[in-house]
Symmetry: C2
Subunit: 355 residues, 2 copies
């Protein structure tokens, strides 16, 4: 088994190093190979997703990804900006199913903006379609407006699209995930306005008939953004498109107050996957040794479970993380009175020790 | 001056009746004419936005709107569903500038999901473009996929579009609003992925140069959804497109915990406007006399200020609402221990008395 390790920019290098350390201590047989991605790859090779990096990612069973991006690349043309690496990996590897758990750890309830009773025990799973929708839909570009309010004016446009099979496959992923949890799926759409999401709603409903044991409901995206704030624990599995999923998964993550703890997985049809923390590259604290490596370490656990067929090793990592939290160790982002503040490396060492 | 009164469905009739009562007591000279809209209009005339209603709305200086929608219309074809009335009014009246204040009233801090210190004193203004974007962009529909992951499969699609003048005019609205407040604008986009929002960002930046006294910053929509949860008070004026504005304005409204208090205004280039509460038609409590009429009453105040040039009358309503809150009157949605629970009509009467 082969893992492509792509640390990327900002705190990416530091946090991925800790996850690699944790993986190494498990004494499993896999090969790890590191390559440049994002701004780091642009600087070294002139492109955020160099050929060699893409080739490595394609050949590997799984990709362990840090984070990409930095304000300093904002002026580059879009095709060369760091985020293009992540979009390119999703597209080229066909990573259509994005798993974004939003979990509030018992000891970190206080870190949330929400009142403790609303957030304690939160455990929702947002499943975001990741290779379709307006992210990749063609045509797109700039032109002179062919009609509309200002015909002839300079216009930019994008195309939102979903085909029936694209919706079917992500719906199956959601229903199957729900079967392993509390058997409820909320499908989020905007069928009252968008043709794309009327099809989405129709297809999810049809697929749902194959899962009579799972309760399906539908919610408009604006309402979902509200209900997440009002009563997040009312959700279990949420399935939605690429654009709405981008927004709602980040909103849900931030509700926990501890986004530094949240992993993610992006899978294709053959369970090849890319694993990355839900947070970004945080250039402001890069290189200071203070970033929280736990989201990346927990992403490595998801990788073991989903792509490398090592569920027991995944369990070991996850309980080690719970142990270090229980022991009161905290990086700066989740630190509070009465707990012990540690740096990135100390946190990684503590997880290794707990394993 | 003429006001078109469109109560609509669910609690619409009850809450609009209270706002009309408040308007009448001000002793100003205007004519009010009522017409059917939404599900009620579909039942009476076979269409959610009958010709006569649209004509009345167009001729009026302002529209006072209740709410539309009910689950029972879910099975109708899209063109006949209640929501089409509101989309049709926006389009036909050219109501491109939607003002969605998210204010947390001092006495209602406890109603929020958020910790009091994060929400107390919140006063942000979300300005949502309302006649462009993927809401109205053509082409849209169903077809056989011309390319993509599953060529030939059944596909649904929509088009996101913005022209330069559409972005310019909403940007001016935002910068001018900011000048009357704390002189900060956050423009929300997804320029890292969408062509449409790269143009958006470019144009807002250009327009911003005409307002050197206003501080402009840019934020991606996913990050905005997070920062609203984390530190809502860091925002002042937020300007964004139709789709993102739909989601973020509802998220922000729910953060206050008292969406029953939040008015909205939708204006066109000649300050003709549609005024409606931020909440929906709440069919579950319709006819029970328990709905909160304050958002509609405050929408009437916005109407007096923006479309009817009666700022003093608007002030009178707004301070009357503050007075009834200070006196401890609360409808069920904002009721808490130690306050007096009242119904819709009693609340309207109390505002009238305070005026
Ligand atoms: C960096 C950006 C293109 C990306 C997205 O919008 O998908 C990010 O926000 C994410 O959610 O992984
Ligand atoms: C009813 C619906 C079409 C509408 C919208 O999406 O604009 C509503 O959510 C709103 O925000 O006024």
């Amino acid at each position: 088994m082969k893992i492509a390790v792509l640390p990327g920019d900002g705190i990416g290098t530091e946090i991925v190093a800790e996850a690699v350390k944790v993986l190494q201590v498990l004494d499993l047989k896999f090969e790890m190979e590191t390559a440049a991605v994002g701004g780091a790859a642009y600087e070294a090779h002139g492109h955020p997703l160099p050929e060699a990096t893409l080739k490595l990612a394609k050949e590997a069973d799984a990709v362990l990804f840090g984070a990409v991006g930095d304000w300093k690349y904002d002026k580059l043309e879009r095709a060369l900006r760091p985020e293009q690496a992540i979009l390119g990996l999703r597209k080229n590897l066909g990573l259509f199913a994005n798993f974004r758990p939003a979990i509030c750890y018992e000891q970190l309830v206080g870190a949330s903006s929400l009142k403790p009773e609303l957030i304690a025990g939160l455990d929702i799973l947002i499943i975001r379609e990741l290779t379709g929708d307006i992210y990749f839909g063609q045509p797109r570009g700039r032109r002179s407006a062919p009609d509309g309010h200002f015909p002839g004016a300079e216009e930019a446009f994008d195309t939102m699209r979903y085909t029936r099979p694209e919706v079917e496959r992500i719906a199956h992923v959601a229903f199957q995930a729900a079967r392993k949890r509390s058997k409820r799926v909320t499908s989020v759409d905007k069928a009252n306005v968008l043709e794309t999401f009327q099809l989405w709603k129709d297809v999810v409903t049809e697929v749902g008939q194959q899962y009579p044991d799972v309760k399906l409901d539908h919610m408009y995206v604006d309402n979902a953004a509200m209900q997440l704030v009002k009563a997040p624990k009312a959700f279990d599995v949420v399935v939605t498109g690429n654009m709405f999923g981008d927004i709602l998964s980040d909103e849900a993550a931030m509700l926990t107050g501890s986004i530094g703890m949240l992993p993610s997985a992006s899978l294709n049809a053959s369970n090849q996957g890319l694993y990355e923390p839900s947070h970004g590259s945080a250039p402001d604290i890069a290189g200071k040794g203070v970033a929280n490596p736990l989201a990346t370490i927990l992403s490595a656990a998801m990788m073991l479970r989903f792509s490398l067929n090592q569920p027991q090793a995944a369990d070991r990592i996850e309980s080690a993380v719970k142990d270090v939290l229980a022991a009161g160790l905290r990086t700066a982002d989740i630190h509070s009175e009465g707990t012990t503040k540690v740096g990135t490396r100390q946190m990684g060492d503590a997880v290794v020790a707990a394993i």
